[in-house]
Symmetry: C2
Subunit: 244 residues, 2 copies
């Protein structure tokens, strides 16, 4: 089924949805640009694009996946990221004073939204309860939202359930905190694995691919799964399709 | 120390505070008026003021205190309130259809703020991270905020820690979720016991007595403890004292 067909069907296929939960890194905010910019500010000319990608992949995605699978014990995201940053700085021979290093480690609290994010969320909020459902920490998500003006109704971090997505407990936990049934909630994400994991727990799904998440030379986003309820080009498009 | 002395000292005595946590029922919202109004709408002329007071005291305050002390197992607030409502309706001979009864049981999700609450919180939010720290459920607090326009940065319910205030774990849990130290957080409440319990965990304290919480004929609020950092007449006054 093509994008157009999915789009025109969207408003009528999900009338029972009351709340939208959002993946955050890559879906709502552009982590890569902010990390590169923050790196350039303290050590100009270093290989920051490569460091950003390695930091995201090896300091976040990989350890989080292992924790979600129960292969290693839970550890807060800030701690995972700080450990990996130390390793990457050493590998690249970048020397930073401890306070500068600590501040850079927390750049993930200060990411900027994609250009459509705040406007789209503001429209979606008129009709739905909206919240992040992110592997980022509760304080990270709160700080990010306050700085960027993300108009969440509440903050939900997988850390509240002492695990990470795609552990089923993260999706079920988010739904239960809102006092809803899985079929009343839709996950919005730029990542197919996240949406499939949510769908397996009974949530509805909206795929918003973000082709620039991994920078200009990145592999294009995965094709949508035909089972997804909605496919949108950005949050403004999502709002239009959901009748907001 | 009088109110005026406390007031003038406030801005300079708490410079390290980064976040304000708020008690909600009675402090931010007027539970009594909404309960009476909702009752009148479905069974006019019944003893709603007395029912409201009994509901709040015996269906909420008393069981919550016993749970916080570990004398009975945790039970969500919505469940405690629904059970007590059934008992009170039976005692007063009020017959309601099950959907009407269920809807009335959830009136606590739809309480109105005191007249100064939204304006005061909006000012306070410019300088501080603001969040509820309430015994109300996470979904109740989210629904209430969305309906009433309470501009929280995030929602914190004691239910996240599977206990209730004044259990020390509720205060410490709220501080930890924000990634702060107790001395960087101030509890704002209309209840002396709540503030004393927060202070015992190292939090700063702001007392905002709400003389109308229990209606026109109620006992006046307790005198402030001289150890409280701030005493304010309402949230606008609190904002002014905290330099917002």
């Amino acid at each position: 089924m093509g994008l157009q067909a999915l789009r025109s069907a969207a408003v009528t296929t999900v009338p029972e949805v009351r709340a939208l939960l959002f993946d955050v890194f890559g879906t709502v905010v552009d982590w890569r640009s902010a990390v590169i910019r923050a790196g350039e500010a303290v050590a100009p000319g270093a290989a920051w694009p490569a460091i950003a990608d390695d930091w995201r992949r090896d300091g976040y995605l990989v350890p989080i996946a292992r924790i979600a699978l129960g292969e290693r014990p839970f550890e807060p995201v800030d701690s995972l990221l700080a450990t990996k940053l130390d390793e990457l700085l050493d590998r690249h021979g970048i020397e930073l004073e401890p306070p500068t290093r600590a501040d850079l480690a927390r750049v993930w609290h200060r990411l900027d939204p994609w250009p459509d994010s705040v406007a789209g969320l503001t429209r979606l909020r008129t009709r739905y309860t909206i919240a992040p459902l992110s592997n980022g920490g509760f304080d990270l998500l709160t700080n990010m939202a306050k700085r960027a003006g993300l108009p969440w109704d509440c903050i939900i971090s997988a850390e509240l359930f002492h695990t990470f997505k795609p552990d089923p407990r993260a999706y079920r936990g988010g739904v239960e905190l809102l006092g809803l049934e899985p079929g009343q909630v839709m996950l919005v994400a730029a990542h197919v694995y996240d949406l499939r994991s949510a769908a397996a727990q009974g949530l509805h799904t909206a795929y918003v691919p973000r082709p620039h998440e991994w920078g200009p030379g990145a592999t294009p986003p995965e094709a949508p799964d035909p089972a997804f309820d909605v496919v949108a080009t950005d949050f403004e498009d999502l709002a239009a399709q959901l009748g907001c």
